[in-house]
Amino acid sequence: MNDRSGSVQTDDWLDRAIRELVDCAGSDAPTDPATLWFASPPRRPRAGWLAAAAAFLVVVALASVVALRRGGEIDPAAQTTPAVQSTTPPTTAHPPRPTTPTTVKSATPRTSVPPGPVVQDYGAITCGDGIGRITIPEIDLNFYYVACVGTAELNRSVVGHYPRSVVPGQLGNAALAGHRTSRAAPFGDLDALKPGDVIQIETILGGAYTYVVTGSEVVNPSDYHVVTDSDPTKATLTLITYTPKYTSKQRLVVHAALDTSRSGSPVGVGQPYYGEANPGFGPSSDVLLEN
């Protein structure tokens, strides 16, 4: 019996076991940003809901008008702040819903991108917000990735995106990190990847990109250049995790390059950019994953 809680000893096997138990009990928590943020399960209608439903319809109508005026172009800002346009009183405020979720999900991979300096604008986001999904069929990997790679984000059993790298699908290097052995171990089998293996990325903006593994290496935690080293004329992807397994001594790094024959041309500005609403985004840590 000691320390902060008066009854919890951090070195006790029991505490470790309980910690693991709780960790495990929440390991299959839905992390699908669509599920968390947009979708709502079917429920019984209630009296108070009529007002909310009516307000929701108004929001949808407004958003459609906005979308139409912009020539049908998807504007993430219109989705992330629907309620701002609503006149709903606070007491009937509704968890925000998508105004055009299916449109976003099924948007054709950027074949109809207009010419010019196109950038991927994620609207206003904060660390921890889901911004895409990574799938690697070869090692049966299928996880959502969120903005930022701090302990707080990665401990939610998801993959994280380095805000100081570009976003996937953009020119330049996009970097993602994930746990190797804990918190659902999204990058547990990264060492099994070989050159030629395919990494698929979908973004919440509707982009679908196929990267092909080009190689891997083991580096020190301080080798942050693997995130920021970037050829602004090429779209590359870097996956980072801990190695050896069950330690945090070094970092395993897998490099991949965009397969333009399967993804179309990359878009973007070749430098880190989440969009106008997020200047100077993210922490300034210079290590590849905290120990």
Partner: protein, 154 residues
């Protein structure tokens, strides 16, 4: 104000769903969180609430309790348990872990979760759940003893 609720919800929905998953499993986690958050909104403005995050955690804990008691929910859960496809997104070890935690009382489960996942001290757990410090210490002690027995035989 509406914007503030949006921001707060957006900020906390992930951790609330995680909490709810430990309490009721992944299928119903979102349901419980929506219900819990909506209940607080129907009750009135959040402007007078000091700690909205704690308020929502408390609401999720309470909603999960009534959820367990609800007969129709129980029947639905049993149906789901018999439906292999519906269980697809549930991880087996996670379900096992929840079965072990299910031996605790609702309050004990919430205390264990906040103590071991969020690393909160009893006083902070007490604030989150709106109970006294002493209650938290007592429940934490009992829960640990119970888990000691259970985990020893695992």
């Amino acid at each position: 104000m509406t914007e503030r609720v949006d921001d707060l919800y957006r900020q906390h929905v992930g951790e609330l769903v995680h909490f709810a998953t430990v309490l009721v499993g992944p299928h119903d986690a979102f349901d419980v969180v929506s219900e819990a958050v909506l209940a607080t909104l129907h009750r009135g403005s959040l402007e007078n609430v000091d700690n909205v995050r704690a308020y929502w955690f408390r609401s999720v804990a309470n909603t999960a309790v009534s959820f367990h008691r609800s007969r129709s929910r129980r029947l639905r859960r049993e149906e789901l348990a018999n439906d292999v496809r519906a269980e697809a997104s549930v991880s087996e070890p996670a379900a096992d872990a929840r079965r072990l935690l299910a031996r605790l009382s609702d309050q004990q489960r919430a205390v264990i979760y906040l103590t071991y996942w969020h690393d909160l001290a009893p006083a902070q757990v007490a604030e989150m759940l709106g109970v006294s410090d002493g209650t938290v210490r007592k429940q934490l002690g009992r829960a640990r003893e119970q888990l000691r027995e259970v985990l020893r035989h695992e």
